[in-house]
Symmetry: C2
């Protein structure tokens, strides 16, 4: 999808939050903000929002020297999500439709993200995630695709959230034992996106193969990912892409076997999905689009 | 008060909202955002937040040709507030402490501002404004100052809100008939700040003398206002300054007779006031500061 003018202030909002994690030195923070402003004074709005915003993170890393400002946040979020594993697993086991329950838990990571810092109600959050229907719901199409599949590429999103992705993959393993699952992480840190270290921390290697996108670009821009990732993307029988960044970079790839699972967190993405901010969707990429 | 790094993304957020009112032409909107980014890539954060942000409005006016993008909003807001006059007046007349009621109504404008677009509950908003105590409350000090005063400079803020300022001035006229009141507006449009046109539209000239700040700078920066305004500022027995912009530009002027009435709408101002975002205050400028 294309960058909108609304993405312009959002870049500076994201940059500020990142800078506060990267350094306490006000002069360095101001220098970074000025360099970001200088960069965006020349930047065209012709790519994806993910591609548009990530230059700010690169500039912050260069100016502050902090290559992974979200490191502590990611560890905290992984730990918090891991504490929810047992209850989440019980929920799945007692569920009438394990695939649906798993898909709902897979978006729970986004919901928990919003709750952090405000006193997280674990039981309430899980209950709410399971009770809130997908506003766009292509679950039956996903179920049918998985039933015929031998391979699944699951494109990961944030740290913490990947604990629920792992649970979803465990369900898929149980329900569709014929499928070979690969889960992708970023090759090096960008924002709070999951890397090998995060996948390792939540035991993802115990449930499937972990691969890298070959880049630290936000999402999975096909012109930037490694040849190996691209081959997996092109050859997988089913692809599940989690979160904003993956939707922003892949939504124009029209495939009957490509499914997005995300919570719309801003007006730009919500408008593209034709839903409201806060809505969760499980959407086949071919929906709304000419195949 | 001094600009903080948090003001940097806020400028772009304000610029986007203003640009959407100023023009529908995406290319012009992008051009303005780029020129704003270019300007702020060189801007020091050494002045007030009000002074920092207003360059964005100047650039928007230059690039879009729209000198008063909030014109329609201001008219709408004035009209809406005028519809509340009768009920507000009844509330004052039946009140045990008319000055306190007037001061609470004077911050009601800010509260109504937030409610617009979400189905405004006039009765509820007024009731809430009257029942919500000032978190910092120097009302008794203001009452004492007014009792001894012959002149009051009331520095206005936004369109719409000025309807409640007018009611407050009417009460002051009734309670302290010895006082000569002057109410100030901006000389030319900036954001949704009140100008002569707005004061005229809400009948402010019927209750006191209207003066101008001599500039369209946000707030009332004393190094920018006209000599006439400065003379009024220096000679007034009491000064009431409404809203964010006036607080941002005058809070370092330590005077026992200078009172700020505002609702804290952002973290930067709330922190300076030592209150929470959303809190209302009636604060003497000498409080917290060495006189």
């Amino acid at each position: 999808m294309k960058t909108k003018i609304d993405c312009f202030p959002c870049v500076f909002k994201q940059a500020l939050a990142t800078l506060k994690l990267a350094t306490d030195d006000r002069e360095v923070q101001i220098q970074a903000l000025k360099e970001i402003a200088d960069f965006y004074s020349h930047k065209e709005l012709d790519g994806t929002p993910a591609g548009f915003s990530q230059h700010a993170y690169r500039i912050i890393a260069e100016v502050t020297g902090a290559a992974d400002p979200f490191s502590a946040e990611k560890k905290k979020f992984n730990k918090l999500a891991l504490q929810m594993t047992e209850e989440s697993y019980k929920t799945i086991v007692s569920s009438g439709d394990k695939l649906a329950t798993g898909a709902h838990l897979a978006v729970a990571g986004n919901i928990i993200d919003l709750g952090i810092g405000e006193g997280l109600d674990i039981h309430g959050t899980l209950k709410s995630a399971l009770e809130t229907p997908f506003v766009i719901n292509d679950l039956e199409k996903l179920r049918k695709s998985l039933a015929e599949a031998k391979s699944l590429l699951y494109i990961g999103d944030n740290a913490g959230e990947i604990v629920f992705d792992r649970l979803f993959v465990e369900i898929i393993n149980e329900l569709f034992p014929e499928i070979n699952v690969k889960f992708s992480v970023k090759s090096t840190p960008i924002i709070n996106d999951a890397t090998w270290e995060d996948a390792d921390a939540v035991g993802f290697d115990k449930v499937c193969e972990i691969i890298e996108t070959g880049t630290n670009d936000i999402g999975a821009p096909l012109e930037k990912v490694s040849a190996e990732f691209l081959e997996d993307f092109n050859s997988a029988d089913v692809i599940i892409a989690k979160g904003h960044g993956n939707f922003e970079t892949l939504n124009e790839v029209v495939k009957e076997n490509l499914f997005f699972i995300l919570k719309a967190k801003c007006e730009v993405v919500a408008e593209k999905l034709r839903v409201k901010v806060g809505d969760s969707v499980l959407k086949c990429s071919a929906r709304f689009q000419r195949v």
